[in-house]
């Protein structure tokens, strides 16, 4: 019985193909939007996660203040690391001086991110040595030309799978010879160019002398003893650095201190805000598509008033008519939903080819899209279907 009515609903839809296609189009667009939005949201979340994967929660990041105009003050420098280390709430501190230089071994060469650091950089950044060793304090002090390679760098320069063979070999960084003393374990964070896998680590004084001079991005990463002490430690370090930099009262700091927690929170917050914004856009698209379906259903009901009257006169129940029209709306929206899922998922790889895009395909997106399309069909199809089922048979037969 219900199968028959399903059949009738299906043939009603195929009898006006253009209209069916047009009204399903809204759902197709709506559902593919949902899938992309969920994908963009998840992608952004993952991006943030990867960005901060190597930052422990009790890190404080100290950077030069951009655009600082205080006259007579010194810039944040390597000498400040020892100062920060001496702060009572700081367990350990390391400095990083980073930038991109060309790295080469034999014929292989590529532009790589080089990070100059002290020996503490590896534990602070949660990096594990896979082969060889890290550089020592002596090497750091001696400005030795030694390098620890990220997993991907080693593979790029020495051939895939040969990363451990690189230990003991000599590579060039910015045309200067460096001995490879260690290789990191694969870190696996999926952000090319920013990942430790794609980086080369050298002692910081070496980096300053041989690679960057006063150029390059300089940061101090201080590990404080307890996450709860973020504010006190920030205050302590600020006081010490202001004194060391001779900044007079009333003048602005020539450095800025950020804690990992609030950096992560800010980035996560930004990602979540973007996701919410996109979801509201999608919700509007979906609402519009639902109203589109409702409109089409109303037109359909009006056009088929006489048919409804006939069905009632030969013994069709309200329930049968309600079922048929509701099924029409549901078939319409679910077909649109499935098409939307297909189109949404096909668009993801295309979008990911564009610079700066990261859309993550997910089951969540597909489910959300599918549930949504069914919901649109039921929600927006119900009222027109109910109206159809409640038409007075005599009025309906007159075609009013």
């Amino acid at each position: 019985m219900n199968l028959e009515i399903l059949n009738m609903a299906g043939s009603a839809l195929t009898s006006n193909k253009t209209r069916t296609a047009l009204s399903a189009l809204g759902v197709v667009i709506g559902v593919s939007t949902v899938i992309l939005v969920v994908g963009i949201g998840l992608g952004a979340e993952q991006k943030v996660e990867q960005q901060f994967k190597n930052l422990s929660a009790n890190s404080l990041i100290i950077m030069s203040e951009m655009g600082h105009d205080a006259i007579g003050s010194s810039k944040l420098g390597i000498e400040d690391v020892d100062l920060v280390k001496n702060a009572s709430m700081v367990k350990t501190a390391t400095a990083m001086l980073g930038g991109n230089v060309s790295a080469a071994y034999g014929k292989e060469s590529a532009s790589k991110r080089v990070i100059g650091g002290t020996a503490e950089i590896f534990p602070i950044s949660n990096l594990n040595i896979g082969a060889g060793r890290a550089f020592t304090d002596e090497e750091s002090a001696d400005r030795a030309n030694v390098a620890v390679l990220g997993w991907q760098v080693a593979n790029d320069l020495f051939g895939d799978g040969n990363e451990n063979d690189s230990v003991g070999k000599t590579i060039t960084l910015k045309n200067k010879k460096f001995e490879v003393i260690g290789v990191l374990e694969k870190n696996g964070s999926g952000m090319p160019m920013l990942s430790p896998d794609d980086s080369v680590y050298v002692p910081i004084l070496t980096a300053e002398k041989a690679l960057f001079g006063s150029t390059g991005m300089f940061v101090i990463n201080a590990q404080i003893t307890d996450v709860k002490l973020v504010d006190v430690a920030t205050y302590e370090i600020t006081t010490m650095l202001r004194k060391a930099h001779n900044i007079r009262k009333g003048r602005a700091d020539d450095f800025q201190i950020r804690d990992a927690g609030s950096m992560v929170a800010a980035a996560t917050g930004a990602a979540a805000m973007m996701t919410n914004l996109l979801i509201s856009v999608a919700a509007i698209v979906l609402l519009v598509s639902g109203i589109g379906i409702m409109n089409v259903m109303f037109v359909t009901v009006t056009e088929r008033t006489r048919e409804i009257g006939i069905i009632k006169a030969i013994g069709g129940r309200q329930k049968d008519i309600l079922t048929q029209f509701l099924l029409e709306a549901i078939i319409l929206s679910i077909t649109g939903g499935v098409l939307g899922i297909i189109i949404g998922f096909s668009a993801i790889p295309l979008l990911n080819q564009m610079e700066g895009w990261y859309v993550m395909p997910s089951l969540k997106g597909a489910l959300l899209g599918f549930i949504f399309s069914g919901f649109v069909g039921i929600f927006f199809g119900f009222y027109p279907a109910l109206r159809a089922s409640r038409l007075d048979p005599v009025d309906a037969l007159r075609g009013e």
């Binding site: 028959e4 009632k312 048979p393 005599v394």
Partner: protein, 234 residues
């Protein structure tokens, strides 16, 4: 039992109400009895309420007042859609002036349609529908859509549809009204056949020649029956 009223109305009144609440009384107390197996024609002035009465009897809309017994059962007060649909589906076959076939369906599917709401399996109802189309001389047209058929053929499809669930009662509202007189005669011959098979027929008509086939003619004016056994003046 020849004299069993299968349709019996007592003081049926029906009014329509305009949007302003204004009452339009259309049936003003109709007492009607149709015996089982009888073929009754309903004539009268246009706007006299014949269709309205037929629709009350066919459970397409309720009376405002009065009682209605169908096959001995008081159904005048039933407002439940399920029961009313059941009566329309099983007890009554409705035939209209304008045929009222579904244009998207073939003749066969049109005939079979009430079987769906009866819950008949597809095979059974399509077999019954084919047999009915054969009876109506339309077997060659089973797969044709109604728009491909002449008026007379469409009305025969509609009659077949009215018969698929084997109802006791046929209600026809001007079944020959849209047909030429020759085709109208053919339809009346089919009605005679149905009567001979024991169907009770109540037919609204303006056509004296169609009314001549009936056992009895009832005449209505202004919402009342003014003659239970009307003779058409020569």
């Amino acid at each position: 039992m020849p004299d069993f009223p299968i349709i019996q109305t007592q003081n049926i009144c029906k009014s329509f109400y305009l949007e302003g609440g204004q009452e339009i009384p259309v049936l003003r107390g109709v007492d009607l009895e149709v015996q089982k197996g009888e073929f009754v024609a309903l004539m009268g002035d246009s706007g006299g309420g014949k269709s309205t009465l037929l629709n009350v009897i066919g459970c397409l809309h309720p009376a405002t007042f009065g009682s209605y017994f169908l096959d001995g059962e008081d159904i005048g007060h039933i407002s439940d859609d399920y029961t009313l649909a059941f009566i329309r589906n099983r007890k009554i076959g409705f035939i209209f002036q304008s045929f009222n076939l579904l244009h998207k369906l073939s003749a066969l599917k049109n005939v079979a349609l009430p079987g769906i709401y009866h819950g008949m399996p597809k095979e059974e109802r399509e077999q019954k529908a084919s047999q009915l189309l054969i009876d109506m001389g339309l077997f060659d047209h089973a797969e044709h859509r109604p728009t491909k058929l002449s008026g007379g053929q469409q009305q025969r499809v509609a009659i077949a549809r009215a018969l698929i669930n084997d109802p006791q009662i046929i209600l026809a509202d001007e079944p020959t009204g849209a047909l030429d007189s020759h085709t109208g005669e053919e339809i009346m011959k089919i009605f005679m056949k149905l009567k001979s098979k024991g169907k009770t027929i109540l037919m609204v008509t303006h056509s004296p020649s169609a009314a001549h086939y009936a056992d009895r003619i009832i005449f209505m004016r202004d919402g009342r029956i003014i003659d239970q056994n009307y003779k058409i003046p020569k």
